[in-house]
């Protein structure tokens, strides 16, 4: 019996092997075809941008990657590659020809930015490009082979290979994108494909050459721990940026924490509830009386389950995706009490305000935002945060320094950047000593800026 059985098993195994070989051959063919197409759509991006951290407007240059996602020349890249600070964007196509591009919009929360190729120039010079297709990033599984294409350290058109190491990594970084917040509303793809500086904004693709993510960041000093924004998030952001140039999100001011196994303590059923760790002072949630330690049982009727950190971004995103000003019905448990609150959302704002340089004062500033004011327990969002002083200029001579918040100029409250610009224009037109009031770590100082 054994004898007769063996050959039959061998035969079956052989058959399997042949089938597998055949499948591999088909797949490799697909990879090469998909890749050829994909590579035509990957670009190098050279950026010249302005910076305001030295007391004057200065320029710096950087290199990133991008992928063309539409036949009318929309390029997807990272928000930390192209941003409103970019003054010059130049794109190198697969043909190695360079064309100019303009910023359509950016969204630092997902670290994505959208550019548009100068189509007139493309047409005039008779250049060609293709656009990449997206795959469904929800269908990815850990272990699956992926490829990264980009410009690491300026090495144009570099392909590296790896696998999906984790398809639902959670991390949020309050200053992750050039000082702007990121990661709160999405999870990330983690890959061991080599990602180096310059890969930023390039695509992470599957074996068919379809975009599954946009490479964004890696751990410095670690080996092959890199992260990409999933394509399903990217698709939504592309649509939003194309339509409006920005992604508008709703904000209610809760900072959630993972419930882990605190259900017992709060007498909750397993997999129920979102723990509120903190409520931003002055936010809609704070006005509704919510506070740290409260448990949200449902949001607009949908049960909330925030047991693990990975579950938090989708919940926050569901609130963020609501139109600004819309009511959010929260069923909240505090101790034995269960109450229902309805809060109206506000527009989500970054803690990072607009930056500007006042050349004649020798001063660069960032507008104090509502979020920054809350975070630093300031009375309100009045004022300009000094981010640079230029040695030898009036502000430096008077003794002002980085970190001061300018609250008044010539006894007038600096409620907006526009007001300060007007005062600077007056100073330029009619130079005269000006009285500045600043607050630093709650200490108020007065300075005279002399022309």
């Amino acid at each position: 019996m054994k004898d007769s059985l063996l050959p039959s098993i061998t035969r079956k195994l052989l058959l399997c092997a042949v089938v597998v070989l055949a499948w591999t051959a088909v797949s490799e063919a697909a990879v090469s075809r998909g890749f050829t197409h994909l590579l035509e759509a990957v670009v190098r991006i050279d950026v010249r941008e302005e910076s305001f951290d030295s007391g004057a407007r200065r320029f710096s240059a950087g290199i990133g990657s991008g992928v063309i996602v539409s036949d009318d020349g929309l390029i997807l890249t990272n928000a930390h590659v192209a941003s409103p600070r970019s003054v010059e964007l130049s794109v190198t196509l697969a043909s190695l020809e360079r064309v100019n591009a303009t910023l359509v919009g950016w969204d630092h929360w997902t670290d994505l930015a959208l550019l548009r190729i100068d189509l007139a120039e493309v047409k005039r010079r008779g250049l060609k490009f293709t656009h990449a297709d997206f795959a469904n990033s929800d269908k990815l599984s850990p272990g699956q082979t992926v490829y990264a294409v980009g410009t690491p350290h300026g090495l144009t058109r570099t392909v590296t290979r790896g696998i999906i190491s984790n398809n639902r990594r959670f991390f949020a970084d309050n200053r992750g994108v050039r000082g702007y917040e990121t990661g709160l509303f999405n999870t990330w793809l983690q890959t061991d494909a080599a990602i180096n500086p310059g890969n930023s904004g390039g695509p992470l693709v599957d074996e068919q050459g379809r975009v599954v993510g946009i490479n964004s960041r890696g751990y410095l000093g670690a080996d092959n721990l890199a992260f990409a924004i999933p394509s399903n998030i990217a698709k939504r952001v592309v649509a939003g940026l194309t339509a409006e140039g920005a992604i508008t999100r709703s904000y209610i001011g809760i900072v959630p924490g993972a419930l882990l196994d605190l259900e017992g303590f709060y007498s909750l059923k397993q997999n129920t509830g979102l723990l509120i760790n903190s409520v931003d002072p002055g936010s809609p949630a704070a006005k509704a009386g919510l506070r740290g330690g409260d448990i949200v049982l449902s949001i607009n009727g949908a049960p909330a389950d925030g047991r693990f950190p990975e579950q938090l971004p989708p919940i926050l995103n569901s609130i963020a995706s609501l139109p600004v000003g819309s009511p959010v019905k929260l069923v909240v448990k505090r101790g034995e009490q269960t109450t229902t609150s309805v809060v109206a959302t506000e527009k989500l704002e970054s803690r990072q305000g607009e930056e500007w340089a006042f050349e004649k004062w020798g001063l660069t500033v960032r507008k104090v935002s509502r979020a920054y004011a809350r975070e630093n327990q300031l009375d309100d969002d009045t004022g300009l945060l000094v981010i640079g002083v230029q040695p030898g200029f009036p502000a430096a001579v008077a003794g002002m320094s980085r970190g001061d918040i300018i609250t008044k100029i010539n006894r007038e409250r600096v409620a907006s950047l526009e007001l300060a610009k007007q005062m600077h224009a007056d100073f330029v037109a009619k130079p005269a000593p000006s009285l500045f009031e600043t607050e630093t770590d709650r200490r108020v100082s007065l300075y005279i800026l002399k022309p």
């Binding site: 760790n277 409520v279 740290g292 000593p433 009285l435 009031e437 709650r442 108020v444 007065l446 005279i448």
Partner: protein, 468 residues
Amino acid sequence: MMPRLRLFLLPLTLAFGAVCAAAAADLPALFAERAKSVVAVEFFTESELDRRPSITAAFVADASGTLVLPRAAINTFLPPSKLKDFRVYLPGRPVSEYAQGEYLGQDPVSGWHFVRVEEKLRASLVPVTAFASAAGAAEPAIGEEFWGIGLRGKDEDFRPYFMAGRVSHLQEMPERTVVAQTEVAAPGLPVFARDGGFAGVAVGGFGQSFIQYVRNERGQPVMLVNSEESSVFQIAADVTPWLTRIPANPSGRPIAWLGVYGLQPMDPEVATFLKLDQQSGCVVSEVLEGSPAEAAGVKNRDIILAIDGQPLPRFKPDRVVVGFVDRDISQRKPGEAVTLTVLRGTERLELKSTLVEQPKLLREAERTYFERIGFTAREFVYGDGIMRRVKLAGRKGVIANFVKNNSPAGTAGLQPDDWIQEVDGSEVKTYAEAVAKLAAIEADTARTEFVLLTSRGGETAVLRVKLK
């Protein structure tokens, strides 16, 4: 330790010494007598886990064994009850012969700490006031020589040694302060004139700027502070009145309080711009809630120009004026009236306020250590409210004053200075309520976990403390 440099310089000093031997003949006698006005003081700071010794120099203030320790000798935030076992050593005597001392408290004006030594040692001590100077209260002249005493380490029986230096310049800070060319005494020890008269008290904390060169690197500016010897002293005429400011109790109370926060000096350019000419001033950053300043109608950003009609003097550097105002208030008693002249916008106002007793200080806050949970709960005091920008009405809970590493509280993520607002999901209003709750948890050996709501940097977090 004696710096090595000093040893190399010794032959030089001897040669120079021979020249002026005649003039210096009386110095050994003056030195021996004045060494009786200085002592070394050792004490132990008790914490949740250990006892740490500290050693400082001190001088004798009067005939009843009162010793003065410099401000920096003891951390102001430490409750006096944590300071244990004061030991007083005579310079050069075997350290086994020490006497016990009693901590009397810190004077709010001078910042000095006072200790009283037990009877048996008092006969060997001579107060600095016994060494009146022939020159009287005359201001030290440029180039005039002053000398003082330093103390060697405990392993050398705190043997006294001689230092001298000439006056380089005089500054008001706001006390008249001499900066000498070289070190003249250990910080906190007296300085004497050439004739042996008490001339002042050395103060520490002054540094000198150097450029440090490392091979193959550019020079780096560094500041060096000699922590054992000082070349700066406050002159006797300005500090002698403080010798009698012995605190009535270890808390240092009564302490007068006005309630203005974040005083900032007014820049002379600003004074000119505001048409105040040569007037000095102080900007009030914040008026504290419930304070006499608030009751008097002082507002945030008022500029104080005068106290009781006396214009604030102008100092260099400008910031000394802040110390001047602080000192002026601390010299007064609760209940005393004080009139401030302030500038608000372009308006000059006279605001009269009545000083009150300072709210409970950090060092007076009650504390309880929970050994099993692994942290110390401290009463929330007025200063905590200022730091956290909490209105009086919102003040509640306790502060984690100490968190033991790897304890249940430490593992849960509790950090020193975290503000604990809720225990097990319910708000703790007072220190007593928090301690009662925590003590019950600590005592309940069946408890496996509990939950704290804490606040750090204005953001709250729920911490789960696993006891088992």
